[in-house]
Symmetry: C2
């Protein structure tokens, strides 16, 4: 039944005795008073009997086995997300949190039950022996967010339930047991976290309806509660799916999954971003920042096609090609098209949930189901034509800035009606030492970047596959090919290695740009940044 | 054609002039000498003409475009492992290493070509204009292990080729080009690495046939070459498959893949094995040793079923259950059965290749396709019955030792005819603080270990899911629940968390014990240990 159609609670109407004013007719008065007294006595007696009956009922509690501590039994459990109109008039048992509870009267309470962000209304109504007033009272006394096991009849409400995400069904409770009690106080309410984040963040504000605005910092500090929202449940279903689709595509192509070392004997990628482990069995070790060198060593070890899903959620792949690196580039373009198309096909509901909270970016569009591939300098030309200063890029000094990339994304969306494009043939000067030079233009390289909504999601290239060429390339970038950590890598190419190419994709970046989230941390279950090492 | 059936090289038969002895009949003699001289002259002339023709042929080289540097063209490439008798008399092009080369004569050479451990014999025979002597000479001059692109006709040899793993086919070369040259010297020959490792390792020995024995250390120091062997190619196909089957099983069950943080603000697992990163943006960070705490925080965050494949190749999962932790235990038992059965079904050839090199352990056996589940103390009893001293285990002082586990594995194999068994209800004293106590026997816990061939491959348990119980358990193990790194974890259970259980599997251990390898490093592409941080 819908909340509006419920009977209102029958209020008690206590008999109140009224003192009469003195009367001329004493007899009549006496008689009346005697009658009144008798009535009063009768009323008192009736009242006492009623109370006694009520007390008797209370002490008996016709439903005492139907609520309270979880019994040691085994029952078939249904997931809230699997309930449908086919279950109407059937009894089901679910394990859910209490999202909200509201006592309407001693005989009636409304609970909102929540499982993985989905909510349903549950009615606890003491209308007969099956549900007692004590059971109603107990149900509303359970702290919000506690886990309960609820058995009830599935019913179709007269009108849709606006306050629950499952609006076409409700549960008429017949049993309710406590599984895990939540504390009375909660650092952040899930219902507050359910609202979309504000356009501009600022701590301690309330929105136009007076509800607290939960900032990203508060969410991340209380990430375990934040993860319980419908939107986050959908985001991490998509994130898991992106990894799964990447793996599915790779395995279909015959690629094998490898795990390369995360601890290295020497820092190979230099700079301040290298983390040193200072107590590796009496030695210094370094955290690998990418599997690049070992991926290529696997190729030199005849593994031909390899992929890895790294600890900092990088999706990496490397493979030999037969004739031209564009074979690998096309393979990677089709990978992104596959991921986007399969997300749209398999995760429609989850995408819709996320877009309720993050509506600004809109659906992700790939024109004609094909990547748009441009040469790097054709991209520069598009920017130039739009009046963007590209002097530094023309002079091969720097790569595109993030602002230029975003602008290019907008211009390409306007011109080509697509959110996914690829730039090929980057200048050699802005790429790492292991990048293969362009065969005819010495300024350029056989390298590419992928962009979603104008932001980079992948960088890749054909790699140098001969030791002498690699040594020269390293020296030209100021690196010593004989240094610890490099020598094994360079030596891998001395025994012959097939030409190969690959790339590294950012999982969280793909999730963020595909869904149009505001911040990369929203795509990470427990994000880390220079300020954050917890929770 | 088979090597044996080939025409032997036509040796030059130079005309040799013989001096005659003095004769009585001068005329006759003169005449004869004149005839001889004329013959000699004719032979000389013929010889000169032949040489001239040959020189002319050499300078022309009828096959000069058919070998040498790789041309800039695009051709259809076939993988060696896809060749079959259906390809006989067809021309194919492959990209392979030269595994071995042998010059039979100026007009004939035999190459063994290798791709991912598979080998085939290739014949380069200068029998007409299509293949020249120069081409034969060039082909045998390419360094062993170099990559070449070879086009040739597939032929069925008269007799099987014993020296190649593809014994029923050979390739009659029509074109051969160099893709990547290997150095002349190689630290370890692939053909030496192809032999099974010796039973007892010792550096610098030769085997009974005088061939060098390659030790594990030499193999690992030169892992890129070692990975090229047929056996290692098969091992890492299996390893990739175990990960894939784990993921396939998890996703089918509705579990989602997560990536938990690998850098923590505080060491939560204590002890000397924790690696500290001392320059995390001005702070100290610690490498996570297992995703245990964050897996459980995801469960508290309503993720219900999660899995992760960690950087140190741990396959982790955690999930809520409806009624009893044995639901999860059974789920995990079926996971192992699924992995083993699917490996047997899908990777028959690879398993056979590995068993050629590691024959000792034999096929992995799961009796009746079901896990054997024993209670921990029933396992102890089996050991006791066999005369093993289990005093320490009876007194709940220590877990089973590795030697006891192996012995138990043997006894179980004898008694139950299976290589996979599970021990349930371990003593609480030997399990970590987050383990749930047994509901009725306070000495025990709801925890389990999985064993393959008597060695542990998984440890798991139901976990404590209430904050107060967790705090007490931590204090009883001497841990402070309010310490940095623990407080976020404990707080996760204050807002209600469903009962859950899970486990962590060692990928490399599963691969090692399933295949019966000698050493865990053989199941790791680039192993790390206290002594080894390279390659």
């Amino acid at each position: 039944m819908s909340e509006a159609s419920l009977p209102t609670h029958a209020k008690d109407n206590p008999n109140v005795s009224a003192d009469g004013a003195p009367s001329k007719n004493a007899l009549k008065k006496q008689q009346k008073e005697a009658e009144k007294a008798a009535k009063k006595e009768a009323a008192k007696k009736a009242d006492a009997e009623k109370r006694a009956a009520q007390q008797s009922q209370e002490s008996e509690d016709t439903a005492k086995d139907k609520y309270g501590d979880l019994p040691d039994d085994t029952v078939q459990i249904t997931h809230l997300k699997k309930l449908s109109e086919e279950d109407v008039d059937k009894e089901v048992t679910v394990i859910t949190r209490i999202h909200n509870s509201r006592s309407q009267s001693a005989k009636l309470a409304f609970l909102t039950l929540r499982q993985q962000g989905k909510t349903i209304q549950a009615v606890v109504a003491a209308t007969g022996d099956a549900v007692s007033r004590q059971m109603v009272k107990w149900a509303t006394g359970v702290n919000v967010n506690s886990f309960v096991r609820v058995t009830g009849l599935v019913k179709k409400p007269a009108a849709p339930i606006a306050s629950a995400s499952i609006s076409n069904l409700e549960l008429h409770v017949t049993k309710i047991y406590l599984i895990a009690q939540a504390a009375e106080t909660i650092p952040m309410q899930v219902k507050d976290a359910e609202r979309p984040p504000p356009a501009v963040e600022s701590e301690g504000q309330v929105d136009s309806e007076g509800a607290p605005i939960v900032t990203l910092k508060t969410r991340l500090d209380n990430r375990v509660i934040d993860l319980q929202t419908e939107c986050n449940q959908a985001i991490f279903t998509i994130s898991s799916a992106v990894e799964g689709l990447f793996e599915e595509y790779m395995r279909k192509s015959g690629s094998r999954k490898f795990n390369t070392p995360k601890l290295l004997g020497a820092a190979t990628e230099g700079g301040s971003g290298v983390f040193e482990v200072n107590n590796y069995f009496g030695k210094s070790g370094f955290l690998a920042q990418s599997p690049q060198l070992h991926k290529q060593m696997l190729i030199a070890g005849d593994c031909e096609k390899v992929f890895e899903i790294g600890p900092f959620t990088g999706l990496d792949f490397e493979q030999v090609f037969d004739n031209h690196y564009h074979e690998v580039l096309e393979f990677a373009e089709k990978l992104i098209v596959f991921i986007v198309q399969e997300l749209d096909a398999r995760y429609k509901d989850e995408i819709a949930v996320v877009h309720k909270y993050f509506p600004r970016a809109g659906d992700f569009k790939i024109k004609d189901g094909k990547a748009l591939r441009l040469k790097y300098f054709d991209g520069i030309q598009i920017l130039k034509d739009a009046g963007v200063d590209t002097t530094e890029q023309d002079n091969l000094v720097t790569d595109l800035t993030t602002a230029q990339e975003k602008r290019l994304g907008q211009l390409i969306r306007e011109k080509y009606d697509t959110d996914f494009y690829v730039l090929d043939e980057f200048p050699m000067s802005v790429r790492p030492f292991y990048t293969k030079k362009h065969p005819t233009d010495s300024r350029l390289s056989n390298s590419y970047d992928f962009f979603m909504r104008g932001e980079e999601i992948m960088s890749g290239a054909q790699r140098v596959n001969e030791a002498a060429e690699l040594e020269a390339a390293m020296r030209s970038k100021g690196l010593d090919p004989n240094a610890d950590g490099f020598s094994d890598y360079v030596n891998a190419f001395r025994q012959g290695c097939r030409p190969h190419a690959g790339g590294g994709l950012g999982l969280n970046r793909i999730v963020m740009f595909f869904l149009g989230l505001d911040n990369i941390r929203q795509a990470t279950p427990f994000p880390r940044d220079p300020q954050r090492l917890r929770p």
